[in-house]
């Protein structure tokens, strides 16, 4: 059986203007999951439920073998959580924060913390209120990483970072995964970051998970077929094609279930295959969301 660090089963949560609907989510141990959604899609609510900060109306949540939110105290010893709205004390220094966190968490690794201070180019004596946004994110991440948690939960860790800081942060996340027992869940609307370092990818939109797969699976199954049709011929209708764009004799078919047999079918109908393009994760995400919203609207 696959070892799961996080498992959501049928989790729902109702708010007056937003609801999270029947979320199933599995995060295998040792992997990194990118959790992608537009603003307001339900990423943070899902993460809050995972952390035991919000109680679900329905469904079960298991994190590191603990059921949430009931056993959250035990689970949290081994979860490092960083989110945008998590504030450090402005009047205290980074060094004070490191001492504070290390006094609570027995697995705190001071050597590693010192290394991170160097790598992230931070100054322990500096007060938090004097730090830039990027430095604050890196400081919060340092405090989470040096506890050596088995699960890292990061809500938008790279949002608002400059390219250098982003690279430092992504590099450090990958370094964590050199250890096979550690797992990362991070939410983002930056598909580029997710595409680079994730093993698993989950798309969420309007409170529902619309797709969840390993990354290579995603990239393999989505293709754009650019065809040249003979005059007066109809565009072939294929199963698995979710969007037909382009103009007149030059249709562009988008599929989320590509298989090479499709090309033969198109050719049999007289079409010339001009190109079969793979898609970036961003294109895949936007197309999925649009397709789903259109399907729901019909």
């Amino acid at each position: 059986m696959m070892d799961l660090t996080v498992e959501f089963k049928g989790v729902s949560k109702q708010y007056p203007h937003f609801s999270l609907d029947n979320i199933d989510l599995e995060l295998p141990t040792g992997s990194i999951m990118g959790f992608i959604g537009a603003n307001g899609a339900g990423k943070s609510t899902t993460i809050r439920i995972l952390m035991g900060l919000v109680l679900q109306d329905k469904g079960t949540v298991q994190v590191l073998g603990h059921s949430m939110p009931g056993e959250q105290a035990a689970a949290k010893l081994d979860i490092g959580f960083v989110s945008e709205d998590m504030r450090l004390y402005g009047a205290a220094t980074l060094e004070w924060h490191m001492k504070f966190v290390s006094s609570i968490f027995p697995k705190w690794d001071q050597l590693y913390a010192d290394k991170l201070v160097q790598r992230f180019d931070l100054k322990p004596q500096q007060k938090i209120k004097g730090l830039s946004h990027g430095q604050r994110v890196k400081a919060a991440l340092l405090l989470a990483l040096a506890r050596k948690p088995r699960l890292l939960v990061l809500d938008e860790p790279t949002t608002g970072l400059d390219p250098v800081a982003r690279r430092e942060v992504l590099g450090e996340l990958m370094a964590v995964l050199a250890d096979e027992d550690r797992t990362i869940l991070f939410s983002s609307h930056n598909t580029q970051d997710v595409e680079q370092i994730s093993d698993q990818i989950t798309f969420i939109d309007r409170g529902t998970i619309i797709d969840s797969d390993d990354k290579e699976g995603f990239l393999d199954q989505w293709r754009r077929l650019r065809l040249v049709m003979p005059q007066h011929a109809e565009v072939p209708r294929l199963p698995g094609v979710i969007d037909v764009g382009g103009t007149g004799r030059l249709p562009v078919l988008t599929t989320n279930r590509f298989d090479p047999g499709m090309l033969t079918v198109c050719q049999d109908l007289g079409a010339t295959i001009q190109a079969v393009d793979s898609m970036t994760l961003e294109e895949i995400f936007v197309t999925s969301v649009q397709h789903r919203r259109e399907t729901l609207a019909v």
Binding site: R167, G171, A178, Q196, I197, S198, D199, E216
Partner: protein, 121 residues
């Protein structure tokens, strides 16, 4: 992305940076070094294994296949790929086989004039 990793590894093997029979980094090590996901490197290794470029032994890690003729074979594969593409583009442009062959002839002619691939002769 895994295609880029495959290209890079093949290049390292063909120029001899990674010698035949040499142990290569584990999937996780390479993923961390390249800052790409584990699954991408895994995919690249699987494909390279299928092509016979590397050998993976369970629990022992991966190494470059101990096949001395690897360099030339990789060039051979690359050549077939380019030729297929040239044939396809020729088709798109409506060139006959003779015209296509002539174009290839011309291209080699130009290279020899530039004095580039002497060792290929």
């Amino acid at each position: 992305m895994y295609l880029q990793i495959m290209e890079q590894i093949k290049l390292r093997v063909s120029v001899g940076d990674w010698a035949a029979g040499q142990e290569i980094p584990s999937i996780r090590q390479l993923a961390v070094a390249l800052r790409v996901s584990v699954i991408t490197v895994k995919r690249a290794y699987l494909e390279l294994e299928r092509e016979g470029v590397i050998i993976t032994q369970h629990g022992k890690g991966s190494m470059v296949a101990p096949d001395a003729g690897l360099g030339p074979r990789l060039h051979e594969e690359e050549l077939s790929g380019h030729l297929e593409q040239a044939a396809r583009l020729g088709g798109v442009l409506g060139l006959s086989r003779e015209e296509l062959a002539l174009r290839l002839e011309e291209a080699s002619g130009r290279l020899v004039e530039d004095g580039l691939p002497k060792e290929m002769e």
